[in-house]
Subunit: 240 residues, 2 copies
Amino acid sequence: MSAGTAPFPAPHRRNLALEAVQSLREQIISGALAPGSALAEPTLARQFGVSRAPVREALIELEREGLVQFETTGRTRVRTLTEADFREIMEARVALESMAASRAAQHWGAEDSAYLMENIAAQSQAPTLSELSRLDVELHAHIMERSGNQRLLRLWQSIRWQFEMCLALTHRVQKALECTPRDITVNSHRRLLQALASGKPELAARTMASHIENSMEWSASETSTSEHPLGLAMETFLRR
Amino acid sequence: MSAGTAPFPAPHRRNLALEAVQSLREQIISGALAPGSALAEPTLARQFGVSRAPVREALIELEREGLVQFETTGRTRVRTLTEADFREIMEARVALESMAASRAAQHWGAEDSAYLMENIAAQSQAPTLSELSRLDVELHAHIMERSGNQRLLRLWQSIRWQFEMCLALTHRVQKALECTPRDITVNSHRRLLQALASGKPELAARTMASHIENSMEWSASETSTSEHPLGLAMETFLRR
DNA sequence: CTTGGTAAAACTGTCGACACTTGTATCATG
DNA sequence: CATGATACAAGTGTCGACAGTTTTACCAAG
């Protein structure tokens, strides 16, 4: 709520386009639209019962979110994420979220602590993997909002869905909840909350960075090349 | 050149749209299109001699770059940047560029040092303010590219033009080259180069952060509220 | 001279159409 | 049976049009 910055009102443009974005995003992340699938405007337009114009805008938005890819011919495909992509995303998250944590620690309030505590409690009882990571992402979204920096928030939002796609990909390999050491995650979030509530920007930033880095430690699989699609790479990793 | 990440090929989409983006961007940054100006699709389409479709895509891109704002009615205006916006942008730059510097320091090569040295030399002899800041931005762009992280680069590019708009706004107030302590800037860039070439990620990141923070030190004008458009605020600042 | 209301102008969101390009299936040929 | 040319289907980039809504211009009334 930092005064002075016009709150970047969520562009009210794109009405039918927005619905298409949400539907396609969900399908891509859930895997219903597999990586590499072609996304043709006329086909999608027929599916949604709209004309090509809104579909076209939706595809532009999804490209911006990194979920689809334009080829030089103009064709659109669902993006295939590799392990290297995953590392890039996590690195970008560290950059954005550390800064956000640092600023959030300066405005931190009791309500914020309460929100995080509630979220963490829910995580420790989440029945499914997707529920667990939904809560996880929401916790981080809250911190980004509390940074008070609309730009930071916007930048983060533009990689958020790629991150969720990575999460979903690994979930499809892990499947069972037991694979995720939930206690470790919960403890890490508790430390993060402590750092934020301490009001020390430096500490908050450092804690956030190591929180994110730890959360991806399993990805240290170090296959020969990192160009494998994420799903496959994870399978080979878990099979060892 | 980190292998494994599809190099986010500059979307080949938007052909007429791309021209419109470049033209409008230039006009907005140069001030030919003043902050607050209305950008109506039919008008722009007539001006560019194209239909509304490419213009519409261009406006979406400019909104994403933060140069333009959609109102709830769907109308589009040139964004008015305030001092608070400027601080947000610099904070986001610190987040992204510190991380990039850290990674760039790990891949740093002699060619990179050579490029920076040449750039810095050119800066010390730049004849105009806009030439000086063009070089400045290009130096930072080079570092972002050398981070090897396509996502970091892309995020940076999506605030780059807002930053350039801020620079141009202050330039219009400063006007004369003498107002900018050029030696300080050049020295700061030399220290930055040294840190990058040292190969120490931590040092590079810290140096980048303080470089950016120092470069905006003059903005510590601290007017009563920070909601003033940047140009006006700068005028009142310099008038004291 | 201000104010309130109405008519005209302009703009946005969306649609269907067309030219040109790309991908694909078919078919004749070596 | 492989191969290369060829016709066909499908897709992209762009355009003009229309309905509904917002803004502006204008005029009457206080």
